[in-house]
């Protein structure tokens, strides 16, 4: 049978190359889509793990602050803990490179004598230089090459508004230690780093190497007991696992989206196998008559599908790699902006992930082919050798399937949305159930087309109306397209709603005329501060009516790391800049000012189950404390959560400190853009980022769009697969229904009419897919907006229908469907009337 399989496979390829190419394309795009997201997920975690490994190296434990930072004074206590062999104090921060090209350095200040594992080149590194040479820094050779820097070259960076001159002291290949670590890693002496960051006496972490034979778990407990509640001790694995937890929603979201493409690719395999089996019935009937078992027939069909899966996977692996590379920048920006994680600089494809890609491709092919394969294997030789069945299931069966699928969706909805049930992954199950029910509705929709009035002439409308005559194959194409369109519509509505919500939020909360921050702010956040002289200067600027200060730091609240921001809650000009959910902003701000209360962001409130009237537990430098919660405010800047307090409260609880940002309210009539230019010129020695209200909004929205770039790529891939499904279906129809075309040609239909008929079929499939997909997409959008976003990301979104985007997408799908129909339409129009044969209709 194996020999026969090889011969039959070759014959199949010769007989239906176009169909196979389309099916392979479907699998390739599906595998590519799913794989690209897994590559990005792994690369994101790899970048974080690489950074941990490069910085902490052999250390088994890291002492980390629960508040903003650790005091220097803690180091002797760590060293003095029994079982600790050595302790390496560290400062970590982001510094902006002061050059027209921009960019940032991931600065690590460490005890370079203790960190002897760093591969410093003895030829270049004078052992005393890191301490003796002001601004001495070790960079990666990759970055030095990219920037054209050599050992000894000066480079200017900024941390906050302070500009500092560094010197390339050594080139160190950190990536040899940790291949996924950042090429932007810059290592310098801890004291120099503290000076650079203006954080004297403060540390980001203390790495601990345990004595031989000491259990790290036991040592961790000992350290926590000795150092008190202001610190936590974690292993590198725990830290990576925390990053995984932080990214869980983001990763699951993209994974679910990418699997839609694989699902749609499976439809293409199904359609191809169906078409192939329709042609091979007689061949399989002969084989069965000659003694082939049902299992052998099943094996023949599944083997054929496995070849499709393998070919698709072979193309899908590089495609996934390329798609991941194309999305690298936008995903990396999202991870840094939304989660304050490391940038992803390169994509990795470990062997197990390639194996997963192969498995996905084969699984897609198997799932797509098992139904038709079992069906044909069950038939007896006589049935296989008889004339082909009409291929029209009973309407009752279609109703049962559709009602069953929607019944499952309704049951999942009841389980997800029922009272007291808030298991977050159920939202994804509901989305899958809604999208999964869509294709089962396609046969009913097609049957409804039969009731349409007969068109006036033979052409596109006739072709579209007659789709129900080929229910089986067409329903698959309509279903596949509907799933892709459902995803397209669902995501578009969700993104449009999100965008509109953010635009309104920005409109409500960005009240100042000019915003002043520093180039390193976007990466360093609380570590990037404005010097007090800058604030003084801003207050003295002509036309500045009021300066609204913001101080930000990171601390643990309700068991998670969140940003804690201090604002001047009593500033009269700042009214309205905080959108308190449920209203009562004035009273909430009064409580911030008078009672030292806190406002918690919506994501934190949802995830930690905190609300107005509750109490928020925060970790300060000297231990935990509690603040009354004055309300919940809208925030779309940090998924992990944020807390807002009055500046006085922040100073009282965390000690005095510099501000990070300033917002300026100008005298009426002043041009903010002119003021921006004036301020930029007023502080020549400072690293400042000065933006008008309008520019800041534009930039925020641009970041927003970039965040969803990878989503758009996934949407595009799913639609391409589905549109390929239209070509495939029409090619199958052109071949299988050649008799009908020949009859029409015999009755006097011109080639043009046949061309139009097939174009109509393609557009009909697209229109039905759009209609069904729109309905499914509306359901998906509701699930995304009302269930998944609040449960996973914590923010509420107002539903908004972006009609322009939806109309554009519908036009693109129709245009793509028309383009996809051209080849089959041309092929069908060339069918001669002599093709009419006994089995033709």
């Amino acid at each position: 049978m194996r020999g026969y399989f090889a011969r039959a496979a070759r014959a199949q390829l010769r007989g239906g190359a176009a169909l196979r190419v389309l099916a392979v394309t479907g699998v390739a795009l599906g595998v590519g889509s799913a794989l690209s997201i897994q590559i990005l997920n792994q690369s994101a975690l790899g970048a974080f793990a690489g950074s941990v490994q490069a910085v902490s190296g052999e250390a088994q434990l890291s002492v980390l602050p629960r508040g903003p930072s650790l005091p220097d004074a803690l180091v002797p206590a760590v060293i003095g803990t029994p079982g600790v062999r050595s302790a390496i104090p560290m400062v970590r921060a982001e510094a902006a490179i002061e050059s027209p090209r921009g960019g940032t350095l991931e600065v690590v200040g460490a005890d370079l004598f203790a960190a002897s594992r760093l591969p410093l080149s003895s030829a270049e590194a004078d052992p005393g230089a890191p301490l003796a040479v002001p601004g001495w820094v070790a960079l990666t050779p990759a970055l030095a090459q990219e920037r054209g820097w050599k050992v000894g070259d000066p480079l200017e960076v900024s941390s906050g508004s302070r500009r500092v001159r560094l010197q390339v002291g050594a080139l160190v290949d950190f990536q040899r230690l940790a291949p996924l670590s950042s090429r932007r890693l810059a290592v310098m002496d801890v004291a120099q780093a503290q000076a650079l960051l203006g954080a004297r006496g403060q540390l980001s972490q203390i790495d601990v190497v345990a004595e031989e034979g000491v259990d790290p778990g036991e040592l961790s407990r000992r350290l926590e007991a000795r150092l008190g509640p202001a610190v936590r001790v974690a292993t590198p694995d725990q830290r990576v696992s925390e990053a995984e937890g932080l990214l869980a929603a983001f990763r699951l979201n993209l994974t679910a989206l990418s699997l839609v493409s694989l699902f749609v690719g499976g439809f293409l395999v199904y359609a191809t196998v169906q078409a192939s089996l329709a042609r091979r019935r007689e061949e399989l009937g002969v084989l069965r008559s000659l003694g082939a078992t049902r299992g052998q027939v099943l094996g023949l069909v599944l083997g054929d599908a496995a070849l499709l899966g393998l070919a698709g996977t072979a193309a899908g692996l590089p495609l996934g790699w390329l798609a991941a590379r194309a999305s690298l920048g936008s995903v990396s920006d999202t991870l840094q902006g939304l989660y304050q994680l490391e940038a992803i600089e390169r994509v990795v494809l470990p062997p197990w992930l390639a194996g997963l890609g192969i498995l996905l491709g084969l699984a897609g092919a198997f799932v797509g082919s098992i139904g038709p394969a079992l069906e044909v294997a069950r038939e007896d030789p006589r049935a296989l050798l008889a004339a082909r069945p009409a291929g029209r299931a009973s309407p009752r069966r279609d109703w049962v399937l559709a009602l069953g699928a929607w019944g499952v969706a309704a049951a999942v909805a009841a389980a997800t949305l029922g009272p007291g049930r808030r298991w977050p992954p159920a939202g994804f199950a509901l989305a899958v159930a809604v999208l999964g029910a869509v294709p089962f509705t396609a046969p009913l929709l097609l049957r409804a087309c039969e009731g349409l009035p007969l068109p006036r002439r033979l052409g596109a409308a006739y072709g579209a109306r007659g789709l129900a005559g080929h229910l089986r194959g067409v329903a698959v194409a309509v279903g596949a397209l509907a799933v892709a369109v459902g995803m397209l519509v669902g995501i578009t509505v969700m993104v449009g709603s999100f965008r509109e919500t953010v635009v309104r939020w920005l409109g409500a909360t960005l009240r100042a005329d000019v915003y002043v921050t520093t180039p390193s702010w976007s990466r360093a956040r609380g570590g990037a501060v404005l010097g007090p002289e800058v604030l003084e200067g801003l207050r003295r600027e002509r036309g500045v009516r009021a300066v609204d200060r913001l101080r930000q730091l990171t601390a643990e609240a309700a068991g998670r790391r969140v940003t804690v921001s201090g604002i001047d809650a009593g500033l009269p000009e700042g009214r309205g800049r905080v959108e308190v959910i449920g209203g009562g902003e004035a009273e909430a701000l009064r409580r911030l000012r008078d009672e030292g209360a806190a406002l918690v962001s919506e994501p934190l409130a949802r995830k930690a189950g905190i609300g107005q009237g509750g109490v928020l537990a925060l970790q300060g430098p000297s231990g935990p404390f509690q603040l009354p919660v004055a309300g919940v405010y809208r925030d779309y800047g940090a998924e992990r959560g944020a807390v807002l307090v009055d500046l006085a409260t922040l100073a009282a609880r965390f000690g005095p400190g510099p501000d990070s940002n300033a917002a300026l309210y100008l005298d009426p009539g002043l041009d903010p853009e002119a003021v921006v230019e004036r301020i930029q010129a007023s502080f020549p020695g400072k690293a400042l980022l000065v933006r008008s209200n309008r520019t800041l909004r534009e930039q925020v929205l641009s970041i927003f769009e970039r965040t969803f770039a990878v989503t758009r790529l996934l949407q595009g891939m799913a639609v391409v697969i589905a549109v390929a499904g239209i070509t495939l279906t029409l090619l199958v129809l052109a071949r299988e229904r050649a008799g009908e075309v020949a009859l029409l040609r015999a009755l006097g239909a011109t080639r043009r009419q046949i061309f139009e008929l097939f174009l109509g079929r393609g557009l009909g499939i697209a229109a039905l897919g759009l209609a069904l997909g729109a309905a499914g997409g509306a359901g998906l959008a509701l699930v995304l907006v009302e269930v998944i976003n609040p449960a996973w990301f914590g923010w509420s979104i107002g539903l908004h229908l972006p009609w322009d985007d939806l109309a554009f997408e519908a036009a693109v799908v129709l245009a793509a469907a028309a383009a996809a129909s051209l080849h089959p339409a041309l092929r069908a129009s060339a069918t001669p009337a002599t093709e009419l044969s006994r089995d033709a209709l």
């Binding site: 007969l454 002439r457 005559g469 009908e740 009859l743 029409l744 009755l747 239909a749 009419q753 006994r838």
Partner: protein, 228 residues
């Protein structure tokens, strides 16, 4: 009545190339003229060239040599589109296996030639009812064709062939897929209808009895046409 023959074959040859073999000649110098509303039958064994003759007569296929004229127009001199439009407007076709479109109703199947031609469907519907009445299927108009018997299907096909009042009906074994009684009934109907409509008819059959119902009968034998 014009003297121009409705259909004229003049020294028509048709050869097919077999893969890897010699060309096979299906028709060898066939000449025939059908003028006016006459019924002409063709008999012959399988492979004698009967279907090839009908394909050439309908302009579906082109002769290797010789001339086929339909309504006085040389089909060989016409483009594919011109031949198609001439066939649409002048010829009605009846097939052995009916070739009805399974996703259309009885009435819609009869209307297909009008759809192809872009006729006014409202006007043609009364013609459809008239024809279905003639063949006794007026009460089945809205039914799916799959629910009809073989004889009924062929009666629908007759209506379809006659809908646009063609000058020539070509029928390829119209009773070949029917039992004897149904076949006789269909043939009687066909002849009655074409005679009433004043349409020329060329039909192919295996049955000498049915062939004898025509005004003239010809026999095709190894590609040659001779009086039966």
């Amino acid at each position: 009545m014009s003297d121009v023959p409705t259909l004229a074959f003049q020294d028509v040859h048709k050869a097919y190339a077999l893969p890897g073999g010699q060309p096979i000649e299906a028709l060898r110098g066939v000449s025939l003229a059908v003028t006016g509303p006459r019924a002409v039958s063709l008999i012959g064994r399988s492979g004698s060239g009967k279907s090839t003759f009908l394909h050439l007569a309908a302009g579906i296929d082109a002769p290797t040599r010789g001339t086929v004229r339909l309504m006085g127009r040389d089909l060989g001199a016409l483009s594919d589109r011109e031949r198609t439009l001439l066939r649409r407007d002048a010829v009605g076709l009846v097939f052995q296996f009916f070739h009805l479109l399974p996703h259309l109703s009885v009435e819609e199947n009869v209307l297909v030639p009008a759809l192809v031609a872009g006729d006014d469907l409202a006007a043609q519907r009364s013609r459809v009812r008239e024809l279905l009445g003639e063949v006794g299927l007026e009460d089945r108009a809205a039914q799916p064709v799959q629910k009809l018997s073989g004889g009924e299907m062929q009666r629908v096909a007759l209506c379809r062939a006659l809908l646009r009042r063609p000058r020539l009906v070509l029928a390829d074994e119209p009773t070949g897929n029917l039992d004897e009684a149904s076949g006789q009934a269909v043939m009687d109907l066909l002849l009655r209808l074409v005679r009433r409509e004043g349409t020329a008819l060329v039909y192919v059959t295996h049955s000498r009895e049915l062939a004898a119902l025509a005004d003239e009968t010809w026999r095709l034998h190894s590609g040659l046409l001779e009086p039966a």
